[in-house]
């Protein structure tokens, strides 16, 4: 499979090119191939063990990273997609539906960025409009009515900054979604799968368990946006990524998230199926714990958890 390498992956790319050249000359059993494969693997591992916030930003945005659709097809059985906010329209940037995870009924929702030009346009690059967040509220209410837990997959650069979105109350839609997520009477698990961009992300991430993939990011503004405001230079995005503490590791330390889900070596985009499986295991484990609590305890615990963020740093 042809693979696009990120800039920081160049040492691995060079090794892989060598391997391919050797194979092209002398077949898969060519001398040195096995050895080089091992070197490449080790290199990848050491490289990924120490990548910084900016490299993680690139990994989090990698086009081959598992998206909502991969999580659905890999984890959810009996999936029925549900559309529309019953008010204005349907938003393809924020999808959702009913299904089962290992036999357990769930309501699932999440951003979908798309993978090629056509699907990216269709899904508006994962940037939801008010209808997306109003659909999320509708799905959460549905889950509540039938006492079904909620799973959300967050992967967005942010809510869409468009004219129509503003006219139809983007801010109100996000606020209501946050409001609903915090008061919903059923277990709620959220996975920051790629990019957790600002209000558009937190709108569906006010969960009992907020988990981040090892190389995902979660931030108040994109590194580019932060850089253009603070340094008046979007090119300083790397500095902004570092300064804002956007990695899963930093956010776990700060008490903003509850758990980190390990990714396969070299990032989730290198082994989609394996990554999806790891995420599934973490979700099921978390749901099993949360299902033991009654709704009153659940809501109190969720609120206390969010109120404690920041206070725990005093």
């Amino acid at each position: 499979m042809a693979r696009t390498y990120l800039d920081f992956e160049r040492p691995v790319a060079e090794l892989d090119n060598k391997i391919e050249a050797l194979i092209a000359e002398g077949g898969a059993a060519a001398k040195g191939v096995e050895e080089l494969r091992e070197t490449s693997k080790t290199k990848l591992k050491t490289l990924y063990a120490k990548i910084g916030p900016w490299e993680k930003t690139q990994v989090a945005r990698h086009p081959a990273r598992p998206h909502f659709k991969e999580y659905i097809s890999g984890l959810i059985t009996d999936y029925t997609p549900l559309s529309g906010d019953r008010k204005f329209g349907d938003d393809h940037a924020l999808l959702g539906g009913l299904g089962k995870i290992r036999g357990r009924s769930v309501v699932v929702m999440g951003h979908e960025k798309g993978t090629d030009t056509e699907t990216r346009l269709k899904h508006n690059f994962g940037m939801a409009q008010p209808e997306g967040y109003r659909k999320a509220v509708r799905l959460m209410e549905l889950a509540e009515r039938f006492n079904i837990p909620i799973i959300s997959f967050v992967d967005t650069a942010g809510a869409f900054p468009g004219r129509g979105a503003e006219e139809r109350g983007q801010a109100e839609a996000i606020a209501r979604s946050i409001d609903k997520g915090l008061s919903v009477k059923v277990p709620f698990v959220s996975v920051i799968a790629g990019e957790g961009g600002s209000g558009g992300a937190v709108a569906i991430a006010t969960a009992d368990a907020v988990m981040m993939l090892e190389h995902s990011i979660y931030s108040v503004i994109s590194p580019e946006g932060c850089a253009s405001i603070l340094w008046r230079d979007g090119a300083r995005a790397k500095d902004a990524a570092t300064a804002m503490k956007i990695t899963a590791q930093d956010l776990k330390k700060l008490g903003v998230i509850d758990k980190i889900i390990k990714e396969p070596v070299g990032g989730a985009h290198r082994a989609q199926a394996e990554a999806v499986k790891l995420v599934g295991a973490a979700i099921v484990k978390s749901l099993a714990e949360l299902e033991l609590m009654d709704s009153k305890t659940l809501i109190k615990r969720r609120r206390d958890k969010f109120l404690d963020i920041g206070r725990s740093l005093l």
């Binding site: 900054p161 503003e166 006219e167 983007q170 606020a175 997520g181 937190v202 108040v220 503490k245 700060l254």
Partner: protein, 290 residues
Amino acid sequence: MNWLTKLTPPGVKDIFSKKDTPDNLWMKCPKSNEMVFSADLPGLLHVTPAGHHLRIGPKMRMDYTFDKSEYKNVDIPAVAKDPLKFKDDQKYTDRLKKARAKTGDQDAMNIGVGKIHGIETVILVQNFSFMGGSLGMAAGEGFIQAAEYAVANKLPLIVFTAAGGARMQEGALSLMQMPRTTIAVQELREAGLPYIVVLCDPTTGGVTASYAMLGDIHLAEPGALICFAGPRVIEETIREKLPEGFQRAEFLEEKGMIDRVVARKDMRQTLAQILSVLLKTDYEKLLEDA
């Protein structure tokens, strides 16, 4: 700098540039460009004769809103200091120091408790002059404190919002103020207490997308910019110019996002009216008793 000042030697320049009048004796109305005598502004509640509502800070806001400008302040709990050790071209702690020196406040939120037409009320004012009113941990804690004070004392809460959005220097901890303040709104709701939002110029970003849009009643000052994404960001995204008045208070009223645009001179009366209905009190009687 014009050609004359460029050519004039520094010593001479000082003589010329010495002002016989202080900087702020007159101000130019942004709406009509007419000159307004600054000393007249308090009498006009800081609204120019052309109707432009100037941004005002917490002290003025409370003076203009509470009966006889009488109220007491409620302290806001301290928060962790610069947990990200954030630095751009200057340290976050230095920016904070400057903002504190400029405003005399610890952060962007001030809480006052007093009466409006006799009705005891908690007022929270977000100060745009303090780092753009940005919603960091301290502002979030201020909101929570105001709501909890209202709940503990069974009082309504009125919030005057004004913010450029999140406080980037606190990263995701700033973002977390959206759910945290929302929890405080839920506490008010559960206690059956009125929560009124008065959206002031400007209210944007994460502030609009959390507590500012979750009020029982939404009022706004005339001409206030109220939005999630700012006009510049939208223009950059859609590559077209936005029409005049887009995202202004009057526009939001038309789009169904706020209940009323209320001029500052009518704000006290409007608030008292709404509160007296929601709380089922007779404020005229309260006034007589007082």
